[in-house]
């Protein structure tokens, strides 16, 4: 198996001008701060974390929609840049994106069919297949019935809109699909349908997926691997089974304990809910040492000064925490 997507030490900094700090100059927001990960062909990697942790910036960086401050993204062995030249546009057909809010991701003046046909018109100018026919068959594949083809976005339901967005992304048969919180704007009843659709299509089209979400239940259901992000860094990464059943980082444990899963047995050491202290810190002023230490119940003096290194704690499981041995063995011994 080869990695379809490989990200090395990726960084993206934004300069923000503070209102009061104009004398002290520009501050730097490290939205993504040294992320390394890879996704094998046909696998689905979930990126989880609170809002503001840099998940969506990751999505844009991976697709080359915004330039990286440092680090590299390689797609199918070739570097992805944000330079919008001919090669960049041509590469779009291999990597597509599904957006959080389907209504704003669709041009309200175009019918559903026109939205899905457009990518084919862009990339298959001299194709033998009729774009409209290919678009229609993809729309049927995502579960849109023929009577919806000529509707405008405002005449569709939330779930139908997201299916149009999905059909538009998949009509070019891309190898990588980046889903940025694809179901968080949908009704709960529709979420399951869209998730099941995604799982089916992933199989049929042998898609590689980057699945960004804050919903751990969905991630558990759909992902092969999971990366947990906190303030622009990946603090724990591994197979979905390892990370979600034997979380090693206190933050991951808190996230998991916050999900109520009826009937599921909690494998963490104490199944009591772990409440995180306070809000995530301002990403402009990242705490020293381990950036999680102000909210961590277990933090020691070491955590306040030293940045933890990424340590391998199992086959396909890494964590960045000074206390991982204690936690991991503590939880592991009881399961």
């Amino acid at each position: 198996m080869t990695a379809l997507l490989s990200v090395k030490n990726l960084q993206r900094h934004f300069s923000v001008e503070g209102n009061k700090e104009w004398l002290s100059g520009k501050k730097i927001l490290r939205a993504v701060d040294g992320v390394t990960l890879s996704v094998q062909r046909g696998q689905t990697l979930g990126i989880v974390g609170e809002s503001g942790c840099g998940k969506s910036t990751m999505a844009k960086l991976v697709l080359g929609l915004i330039p990286a401050t440092a680090g590299t993204v390689e797609f199918d062995g070739k570097p992805v840049t944000a330079q919008r030249n001919h090669a960049w546009r041509a590469a779009r057909r291999h990597m597509q994106m599904v957006y959080q809010d389907p209504l704003s991701a669709l041009d309200r003046r175009l019918t559903a069919l026109e939205q899905v046909t457009e990518p084919l018109q862009i990339h298959d100018k001299h194709g033998e297949i009729q774009p409209a026919i290919a678009a229609q068959s993809m729309m049927r594949a995502v579960g849109l019935t023929d009577n919806l083809f000529q509707r405008y976005p405002h005449e569709l339901s939330g779930g139908q809109r997201q299916r149009v967005v999905l059909a538009r992304a998949l009509v070019l048969k891309p190898s990588l699909l980046v889903c940025d919180e694809p179901i968080s704007a949908l009704d709960v009843s529709v979420q399951a349908q869209v998730i099941n659709l995604l799982t089916d299509l992933r199989q049929q089209l042998s898609l590689t997926m980057l699945f960004i979400s804050h919903d751990l239940r969905v991630v558990r259901h759909i992902c092969d691997e999971v990366a947990v992000m906190y303030l622009g860094r990946i603090i724990e990464q591994g197979s979905a089974k390892n990370v979600l059943s034997h979380p090693a980082h206190p933050y991951t444990r808190a996230l998991i304990s916050a999900v109520s899963t009826p009937g599921a047995k909690h494998s963490t050491a104490n199944s009591a809910r772990i409440i995180l202290k306070g809000e995530p810190p301002n990403p402009v002023d990242v705490p020293t040492g381990c950036s999680f230490h102000p909210r961590c119940a277990l933090a020691t003096a070491q955590c306040k000064t030293n940045t933890p290194v990424t340590t391998r704690i199992g086959e396909a499981h890494t964590v960045s925490c000074h206390l991982h041995t204690m936690i991991h063995h503590g939880s592991g011994s009881k399961t």
């Binding site: 919008r84 779009r92 309200r108 019918t111 990518p119 405008y152």
Partner: protein
Amino acid sequence: MTRYMLSRSLRALLTIFLVVGFAFTILRLSGDPAMMILSADAPPEAIAAFRESWGLDAPLWQQFWGYLLNIIRGNFGVSMRDGSPAMRLVLESIPATLALALPAFALNLLIGIPAGIFAALHRNSWIDRLVMSFSVAGHTLPSFVLGLLLVLIFAVSLGWLPSGGYRGVEHAILPVLTLTVGGAAVLARYTRSSMLEVLGQPYIRAASAKGLRWSQVVIRHALPNAALPIVTIAGLMFGGLIAGAVVVESVFSWPGVGRLTVSAVGNRDLAVVQAALLLITVSMVATNLVVDAIYCLFDPRLRASSGAHH
């Protein structure tokens, strides 16, 4: 679509009725035409006779009713000054107004919209700041100041162009220029802000992420979506220009609808003022109807709300 346009048309008729009624009442309440036209020290008998012959002695509602009936018959009254038909006086001044309005409107569109688009596409660059500085200046400079300034420079100091009058093309240059500076500035500002709003939408990013060339993203997705507010402003502007640029026509002694209205109001020449107001109202309302029709072209939501879709 049909139902939408029908309701708009009914509303337009109501608007015209209200404006005509309002103008009629206000004109009669704000001063006695007999005094103005015959002068205040005319003998009382002459004033009474004048009132009687023009029907000004009847109750207001009776005058209004008679006026409405006359309008329906196509009779808009005669000028109290020289007895010529009021509507003819107004219609005769339209070509002069159009001679300023049409070139000014075309220049507004040709300069304002591209400047706004260009500024939006190069947001925060020096070129954007330059365009917007000109726009703010053009927007805030009153047309009588600008008009006089242009006369001072090009007619008085340089002597290149005439300072006023209505004869040849060279007489139209300064008034058209005055109308263009303000109009293009307003259009540029609205176009820029409308474009910026649309360019920030996720579907624009999505269109680019599909691999569409940026110029095509702008032409296919950004411009049509940004067009609605621009059409609104352009429509209002066109209606205003047809109504006659009161100030500019006065500054440049241009015999258009605007100047006719101003002098008729000053003379309390009721029939002429009413005829001019009727024409101005109708042209404003008609422009708005056209704008509403254009809306339907740009926004499928309006088309659907008419019930055409089911």
